[in-house]
């Protein structure tokens, strides 16, 4: 595959290395779509940009592609400053959200479009090789309107990949596919990325997609990056309430910090005390949000005894809802003074559901799974 791409021509800029965004801001009128965003994407990594609708993901990609110019800041690949250059001058290709295939050209001509513009003599061979990579070789003679959504998606991918860009941008490329095909394409995308070793920037608002595919995830909110890290670290230790809620689910309640030692923090709410390791606390004073993921909770019918000291217990509460999902059973438990908490219990038994709504129960968890983040009101007041 690497042999597919060699010489370039015209005003095309050769640039190799990590992708860097330095304090990039994009304003539309007086609306700030991307706000003072800085990030470095290491060369060859699979980077996911995750965030809710309208948070500026597409705008960010368009600035990297050159389809939009930043209002402030710089965009670099390696040491080459690409700010201000035209899309066709950048070693960057995009797989558009709507695919944007050329409807008047065959699949093969669509894929050969980039190499031809760069004056490569073996454009057609490259196109065929790229189509083979995405398993679309047999449909090379068709026109895009004659393809299914998943097939169009592969062609769009091949059309971008064939150029072996330094950075490949994917704007929710799987958004239009049904769940099963989506899962298949995720695996395939990951396989292709590993094989060609290009930098992929994958935009999505599907957290599961981001977590299964990416080496690094950046969670975006309102034009800013809230937190960045490996999927496991982001899930395990969210640093803001937004990340805790956006990536998976979290039980969170407000509590007061009452005491602290060199490496622990103790919080209080409704007469209960919770201790957690200091390194898991994003805020260490005042009113904070204390959080723990539902699958970390153990449900028991009696008040648990003889638990190790690192375990935290809360109860009694009352089960208000039970839902069986196959892999697990999800309970919603009302604990006086705390409100509703959700707990996911793995279905290890043949007849797993033996707790009914109305039953009394206790919740316990390992304090090493808990975390604290700033309350949303505190977060909103910080600039």
């Amino acid at each position: 595959m690497m042999a597919l791409f060699s010489k370039t021509s015209g005003s095309f800029r050769e640039a190799k290395g990590d992708l860097r965004l330095e304090a990039v801001t994009k304003k539309f009128g007086d609306f700030t779509a991307v706000d003072d965003l800085s990030l470095t994407v290491p060369r060859g990594s699979f980077f996911a940009l995750l965030g809710p609708s309208g948070c500026g993901k597409t705008t960010n990609l368009r600035m990297i592609a050159g389809l939009e110019q930043p209002s402030q800041g710089r965009i670099l690949i390696g040491d080459t400053d690409l700010t201000g250059s035209r899309p066709y001058e950048r070693p960057v290709n995009t797989v558009f959200q709507s695919y944007a295939l050329f409807p008047h050209l065959t699949v093969r001509d669509n894929v050969a479009f980039g190499p031809k513009r760069r004056g490569l003599p073996d454009a057609m061979e490259k196109a065929d090789a790229a189509l083979k990579l995405v398993q679309m070789g047999h449909l090379a003679g068709r026109k895009p309107p004659q393809l299914s959504g998943g097939q169009q998606q592969r062609v769009a991918l091949a059309r971008a990949l064939v150029n072996e860009p330094e950075v490949l941008l994917l704007d929710e490329p799987l958004g239009a596919l049904d769940l099963k095909l989506r899962r298949e394409m995720q695996v395939e995308l990951k396989r292709i990325q590993t094989r060609v070793g290009l930098t992929f920037i994958h935009v999505t608002h599907d957290q599961e997609e981001a977590m299964t595919m990416a080496d690094t995830i950046a969670v975006m909110n309102k034009g800013r990056i809230e937190q960045m890290g490996t999927p496991a670290s982001l899930y395990d230790l969210p640093r803001t309430a937004f990340v805790a809620r956006f990536l998976g689910q979290a039980n969170m309640f407000e509590a007061e910090v009452v005491s602290s030692t060199a490496d622990t923090l103790t919080l209080e709410r409704a007469g209960h005390h919770f201790t957690l390791p200091r390194k898991r606390a994003a805020v260490e004073t005042g009113t904070v949000l204390y959080g723990v993921r539902p699958e970390k909770l153990f449900l028991s019918e009696k008040a648990p005894t003889d638990l190790p000291s690192r375990m935290v217990t809360l109860g009694p509460g009352r089960i208000i809802d039970v839902s069986f999902t196959g892999v697990s059973t999800n309970y919603i438990v009302d604990v006086p003074g705390f409100g509703a908490a959700s707990a996911f219990e793995q279905n290890l038994d043949v007849d797993p559901v033996h707790n009914r709504p109305g039953d009394e129960c206790w919740l316990s968890w390992d304090q090493g799974h808990a975390f604290t983040v700033a309350t949303e009101t505190a977060e909103a007041s910080t600039p």
Partner: protein, 303 residues
């Protein structure tokens, strides 16, 4: 899906098909009847009538009466006498089509991609001329292009107008044709450009094509259906037009075949067969050109 499942599905459809075949065969033809009646009444009947007239001869001694004697020499005579006008018609129509394309394409492009909230205003400007009569507008152009009008007098003052006139020349006729058929060029092109997804144009830029190359390789080919429709809708009526040559041209060297047909029908005694023969020739040539044109551009570029 497995091949077996596919085969089963294919089988089911085939069986269902068998039951419905009878009904399916007849219904489409029944649905065609109103259209066919329409065609027979408004197209076939007048065509046959015209075809018959084109091979009739004058009844000796009774002016205005004709009899059918399969006189195909009408065609030879008409062509040998009026070929310059026929040729000129295609030349003028061709020039007007090129001019209308050169003006109409950028106009349609601006409307589709650049106009923003002015799009509707531009659209109204393009169709507004239809609210007044074709003839009135052409007469207005005669005033505008007249020797004492603003354009000719300015050019004359600058000694830039060889011959001193715009009216009574081929320039005025081609300009009139261009003007009158411009909306027919612009609107189809606009409607096909409007359907071009701006993301597809961005994709051209993303794939190393600069603005010009993207236009040549992406936008223009994607608007070819509109260009094809626009050129036909301009060229065909322009080739048969006589109003522009009549009102803006001279009596000698700018007459088109439409003018000949008109005068043979209405002014030359016994000219009916010649007029009919010329009409048929014009139609035949246009059909041939249409065929060649759609063969060349229709199949290759459009699909």
């Amino acid at each position: 899906m497995t091949a077996l499942a596919q085969a089963q599905i294919a089988n089911t459809t085939a069986v269902e098909g068998d039951h419905r075949v009878k009904g399916r065969r007849i219904t489409p033809y029944l649905l065609l009847i109103p259209g066919l009646l329409w065609l027979v009444m408004f197209f076939v009947v007048p065509m046959v009538q015209l075809a018959i007239v084109s091979i009739e001869s004058k009844f000796p001694g009774y002016p205005g009466y004709y009899y059918l004697d399969w006189n195909v020499f009408n065609y030879a005579n008409a062509l040998s006498e009026f070929w310059p006008q026929l040729l000129r018609s295609f030349l003028f129509a061709g020039l007007a089509t090129i001019m209308a394309f050169l003006i109409g394409y950028p106009l349609a492009y601006a409307m589709a991609f650049k106009a923003g909230r002015w799009r509707n205003v531009m659209m109204i400007c393009v169709v507004a001329p239809f609210f007044t009569s074709f003839i009135l507008r052409t007469i207005a152009w005669r005033q505008i292009l007249a020797d004492e009008g603003p354009i000719a007098s300015t050019l004359n003052a600058l000694h830039l107008l060889p011959g001193g006139h715009i009216t009574e020349t081929w320039v005025a006729v081609v300009a009139g044709l261009t003007y009158n058929f411009l909306p027919f060029m612009t609107l189809p092109i606009y409607s096909s450009l409007e359907r071009v997804d701006p993301k597809v144009i961005e994709a051209g830029g993303d794939l190393y094509a600069n603005g010009l190359t993207t236009f040549r390789r992406v936008t223009l080919p994607m608007s070819m259906p509109g260009v094809l429709a626009g050129t036909l809708m301009t060229f065909i009526p322009a080739a048969g037009d006589y109003v522009n040559a009549d009102l803006l041209g001279s009596d000698i060297d700018t007459k088109m075949v439409g003018n000949v047909i008109e005068s043979q029908f209405f002014r030359v005694p016994g000219g009916f067969p010649t007029a009919a023969a010329l009409s048929f020739t014009l139609m035949a040539i246009i059909l041939l050109m249409l065929f060649a044109y759609t063969r060349r551009f229709g199949t290759e570029e459009l699909l």
